[in-house]
């Protein structure tokens, strides 16, 4: 079994967003980087498939050289190979452009299972995986929370309002994964050490013309006025009063 998993490097800004002066990007000074939780689960799923069925797994990202950090993290957890499609300007690539570069790279490599996140953490486009599937003419199921491989078929479950849609498709196939499909492991110390030695295949890519062009980023209104009810258990009568006021009790 040959499994591919695609991840995107994004700023990890827990406390709040600071925008750059031109209002076009998230200010990443003093900010760490991460991948989407959906993609973390896709990485975990790739590792589990190989552990169970044998074969190899490859992690791919289209991004700046610094995105090696995300590739090495995946390798440290158990992914066996990595591809970096180097593009400093990756934030201005639209999903069609990203999909085109990924599809061109992976087409000759013959993967059986291609995993993506359901949506990237920052731009949330919901489409790179589907567009890659279209370019490779492969079946695709999105937003899956369960995947089972049986010989040359896959059974994938997608959660909808009414319950679970169970899909069965022939491999090779593309799946976009949602958090909840598994609980991702942490890398072991040995994994982290040996990940440093795994070679990363690098290829420079240039942006084709894009159909979506960002003009500005802005923050939505946040308008809450804080009222401190008190400190410690002494605040309980005040909390009860509020619960009454709000009709909660």
């Amino acid at each position: 079994m040959k499994v591919l998993v695609c991840v995107k490097r994004v700023p990890d800004t827990g406390g709040g967003f600071k925008l750059t002066a031109d209002g076009m990007r998230v200010d990443t000074t003093n900010v760490g980087f991460a991948i989407s939780p959906h993609e973390e689960c896709a990485v975990e799923e790739a590792i589990r498939i190989i552990e169970k069925h044998g074969g190899s797994s490859t992690v791919l990202t289209l991004g700046p050289p610094a995105a090696q950090e995300q590739l090495r993290e995946a390798i440290a957890k158990g992914i066996t190979g990595a591809i970096l499609l180097e593009a400093e300007d990756y934030e201005s690539w639209d999903p069609a452009a990203t999909a085109q570069a990924i599809a061109e790279t992976v087409k000759p490599l013959g993967f059986d299972i291609l995993l993506f996140g359901n949506e990237s953490a920052d731009t949330c486009n919901y489409q790179v995986g589907l567009r890659v599937a279209h370019l490779l003419d492969l079946p695709c199921v999105t937003g899956i929370k369960a995947l089972e491989i049986q010989d040359n078929r896959a059974i994938a479950k997608r959660e909808v309002k009414e319950g679970w849609e169970v899909y069965e498709v022939a491999l090779p196939a593309v799946f976009t994964v949602k958090e909840g499909i598994n609980t991702p492991r942490h890398p072991s110390l040995r994994g982290i050490m040996s990940a440093k030695k795994v070679p990363i295949e690098q290829k420079r890519v240039t942006k084709p013309s894009t159909q979506l062009v960002r003009k500005a980023l802005k923050k939505p209104q946040e308008g809450r006025q804080l009222e401190i009810l008190g400190q410690g258990p002494e605040a309980v009568p005040k909390i009860v009063e509020k619960l009454r006021e709000l009709g909660a009790i």
Partner: protein
């Protein structure tokens, strides 16, 4: 023409579809255009006549469309766009709506702006849209260079409104489908086993984060929820990643989006990716031992202190009041 591609659930238009029709009508008014709707599914013909404020309804009613058939639906939607040459195509930004429109965008080599929240019309033409980034924590203004402009509408971005007027004309769209368009299909539908009050239906949601410290500690949140009644317990990603709670309890960008009357956040720092899942709560009460925690900038009421003292004291007080 503006083409609204709608989705149905249980033989009715979904709420997101009604919002989409409303947005399409609004756009049509500003661009001096008409609206047509496309309905794909089994038995959708019966729904066509109920649509108002649209001039035409295109129908692809097929016995085989009991559930979503992604590639068949995409082929039909792409055919409708090719035949009718709309200026704008709009669909609901639900999981299925985004799935369908990404397939349509790929087929027709068109850009797709998902989860739009605002539309900017200048001189009768749609120039720009605002779409949600980071699950709604940030908004991005984008220009779409491909034509027609293909968009999905973020759920709840606008309220659905009914319209008056004459019944629309109904037209059957016939698109030849082969085996290939059925290679991805639902083999089985497993109904969800609903137990208790769901996070999205509860009037009060009590969330626990890293400050809870263990799976066992969530027991007191369950007890509090039971005392309040019509309440459910949720969690942060830290809590679900530690296996203190199942992922289905997670609130946030990659979890549930809730909108209760009151959200009580216990031992939660208030990271934007968590808060984007509860920002539609009417009121937010935060219990945190750190007065500097970001959640206090995103809450209506704050209690500073150790939740392991405050929550048991609150439970004791509510019990006392109930007993009295």
């Amino acid at each position: 023409m503006i083409l609204a591609i709608l989705e149905t659930a249980k033989n009715a238009l979904s709420e997101a579809s009604l919002e989409t029709v409303t947005a399409a009508r609004d756009l049509a008014q500003k661009t001096n255009d008409s609206v047509a709707a496309l309905l794909i599914g089994k038995g959708v013909r019966a729904l066509a006549a109920s649509l108002r404020g649209v001039s035409a309804v295109l129908i692809a009613d097929d016995e085989r469309f009991e559930s979503y058939v992604p590639e068949a639906f995409a082929k039909i939607a792409a055919a409708a766009i090719t035949q009718k040459s709309p200026k704008i195509v709009l669909a609901p930004g639900t999981e299925t709506g985004n799935d369908l429109m990404a397939r349509v965008g790929a087929r027709l080599n068109l850009g797709l702006a998902t989860n739009c929240t605002e539309f900017f019309v200048e001189n009768g033409a749609l120039k720009r849209v605002t779409r949600s980034n980071w699950g709604g924590s940030l908004l991005e203004e984008v220009e779409i260079l491909s034509s027609p402009i293909v968009l999905t509408l973020a759920p709840h971005a606008i309220a659905a409104q009914s319209a008056n007027g004459a019944a629309p004309s109904v037209e059957t769209l016939s698109v030849a489908l082969s085996e290939k368009e059925f290679r991805v299909r639902v083999r089985e539908l497993i109904p969800s086993e609903k137990k208790g009050i769901s996070l999205t239906d509860a009037k009060v949601v009590i969330g626990g984060g890293r400050g809870m410290g263990s799976a066992e500690a969530f027991q007191m949140l369950e007890e509090l929820a039971a005392l309040i009644g019509n309440a459910a317990v949720g969690a942060t990603r830290v809590a679900t990643n530690n296996n203190w709670r199942p992922h289905s309890d997670q609130i946030g960008q990659t979890g549930a989006q809730i909108a209760p009357d009151l959200y009580i956040a216990c031992g939660i720092s208030g990271a934007i990716q968590h808060m984007v899942g509860c920002k539609n709560s009417k009121k937010i009460l935060a219990i945190n031992k750190d007065a500097e925690a970001p959640i206090f900038q995103r809450a209506d009421y704050g209690v500073i202190g150790d939740l392991h003292q405050i929550v048991p004291a609150l439970i004791a007080e509510l019990k006392r009041l109930k007993g009295a």
